[in-house]
Symmetry: C4
Subunit: 211 residues, 4 copies
């Protein structure tokens, strides 16, 4: 639905996806991830592209319990992750926006899973996966592939973190682990991003299980 | 209920189980398995025999979130797993059909559990279980038995995979692990298949726990 | 509520607890345990004393999914665990009845947890716990105690299994592990039995975690 | 809402937070923690400050299932944790009150998690964390910090336990592990306390996972 009558209209934007609708979708996705224990405390954040020209994102508001978001707990940002209109996005909105610019993704999910941080510490050079059917869930036509989940160093400077992410992007792997921090995953829309988060986390849990 | 007034009728079939009813049963079973984390992403698929003469299966549609299936997210296939009428089944429908032909099962469940893939890697020659009460859940009259859960190599060719499954079938074990992939389990009906999935997964989790 | 108008009345018994009410309580307890993964397949069974003079038990019916019991999925047994009236109890009803006779318990819970079987294999001589606050949940006035959870060999003969349980009973530990099988726990009523199951399982999970 | 018409009024107190409202909040928080398996049996207890001058706490009643509390399952205590009016608080109410006096916290959560007891045993000198983004969930402005979660010896004497807690308080860490017992965490209000419990437990689970 066009945003001409929604919150997008308040800031003079004609959005492809109304901001309230985007907020409802992100709240449902966040509640799902939270139920898995992947957004403990108020950690993590989700975003969806609500306009392509110009690029605009809806990003979950900072500091909220991710199992209790409402459709209005969302902030509109520009293509740099800076807020447009009311609300304060997570500082990490800038990294979401960078992922969108770099990859053309329509949705980005950032979660704090124990498995991603545990394996990021063991494999700072990246986490390799091969010969696993689950890799088809990332778009590969067969299990007979070898891919690497990049691990990048953490930073509070989103420009630095974005440069590291850009330098580390790995073909056939729509995800990056930030060491000591968590997991970024992206897809065409929030549902594809969700499925890819689940696939990457499954791969990490397999590694943790010694598989 | 006969399928003469359901979707089976659309393709000129008189099914023992109406396709919509079959879809409702499979959706409920899939949601249950998904809640355990055994169908992450869009992985896995379930089937039920809806006609014995000729053999016809209802198989979950491909590419859907297994926690969100509806009764219509199901495809009718012949005894080779080829679609009859509308919809696209998973390629793995051919393996479901092969299991039905080989074993006479009335329902087949294929799930992607971390434990099955982790142990399939450690025990490529098969996973042995003995002296466990839980084996009675697979139909054994006592715990004093020794059985092996076969592990077969993965393939994208369902004919190859089916041949491996046929060669590996193990007495007293209605299940097979596909290495790097997941678990196939079967039973007389979806409920028995469910219980056997739970039993086999419990056995695998026990092994993972070093038990 | 007296059972004079309930199913107990059908067999000429004046029960302290109506059989349907007992079934409702056990169904709720079973659904709770099943949600934790402690009654996979159709494993485990629960009982509650519905009459003391003579001793009569309500025991969950055999072969049902423990997450889907209804108030009528319960069987009345005598003090040996033999059915009175309709229905077939688990063969293990005889062990429930023996626990009641030996300990005076009002409720018995038998669950199949991975932790109990894993640790029963590692510690066939019994599993020792000491200096743990959680032991107060078994009735100890302080954490400064040392108790042992007995491990007994499995058998399909309930007389043999009962003799082993009787010989193994450990002061201050209302529970026994049956090797390769699962956990028996008892208490004054279903709620106390539930809390003790949770405490014992917590202790076992702590041991599994290397704590 | 003022407590002038609530249960606080019954004991002549004008509370900042009505006791029934406090009970409803604590019941919801307890049900949440119980669903994670952090309050097995009837373990753990929660409190919230309902008056600052004089200091008064609402503390969950002792001996109840923490997944089934009602708004009235709460006891009013003074600044030493002694009951005012009806009801019996946990003996540990005295430790909750001590934490409030020492730290100015508005809410205290005490949970029994397997991870806290397992790691308290391995690291009796305290559990160190550094370079983890999740530490920002405890109020740190960056991940580039090193903090220690203190571990103190258990005691049934709340004065002794309180002295140990006071001596162990660690800057930037609103939590303490009691060895062989569980975790105390505090915050400005029940929601902040909840988020900090989740963050600390996440850190402990990471350590358990070898991360």
């Amino acid at each position: 639905m066009s945003g001409t009558t929604g919150r997008g209209a308040d800031v003079g934007l004609d959005l492809d996806l109304d901001l309230e609708e985007a907020g409802a979708v992100l709240a449902a996705e966040a509640a799902r991830f939270a139920s898995f224990g992947w957004m403990r405390g108020t950690s993590g954040n989700l975003s969806v592209v609500v306009s392509r020209d110009p690029v605009r994102l809806a990003v979950t508001a900072s500091g909220r319990d991710k199992g209790e978001l409402t459709p209005s707990d969302v902030v509109l940002t520009d293509d740099q992750g800076a807020a447009i209109g009311a609300g304060r996005p997570s500082a990490e909105a800038a990294l979401h926006a960078r992922v969108v610019r770099l990859t053309g993704a329509g949705a980005v999910a950032h979660v704090h899973t124990v498995a991603s941080v545990a394996l990021g510490r063991r494999r700072p050079e990246g986490i390799a996966f091969r010969d696993l059917e689950m890799l088809k869930g990332l778009g590969h036509p067969t299990h007979e592939v070898a891919v690497t989940l990049p691990v990048i160093g953490n930073s509070q400077d989103m420009g630095v973190l974005g440069d590291r992410l850009e330098a580390a992007l790995s073909p056939g792997m729509p995800a990056v682990v930030v060491a000591g921090h968590g997991l970024y995953v992206w897809g065409a829309d929030p549902r594809e991003a969700r499925h890819r988060v689940e696939v990457v986390e499954w791969l990490l849990e397999l590694e943790l299980a010694g598989g």
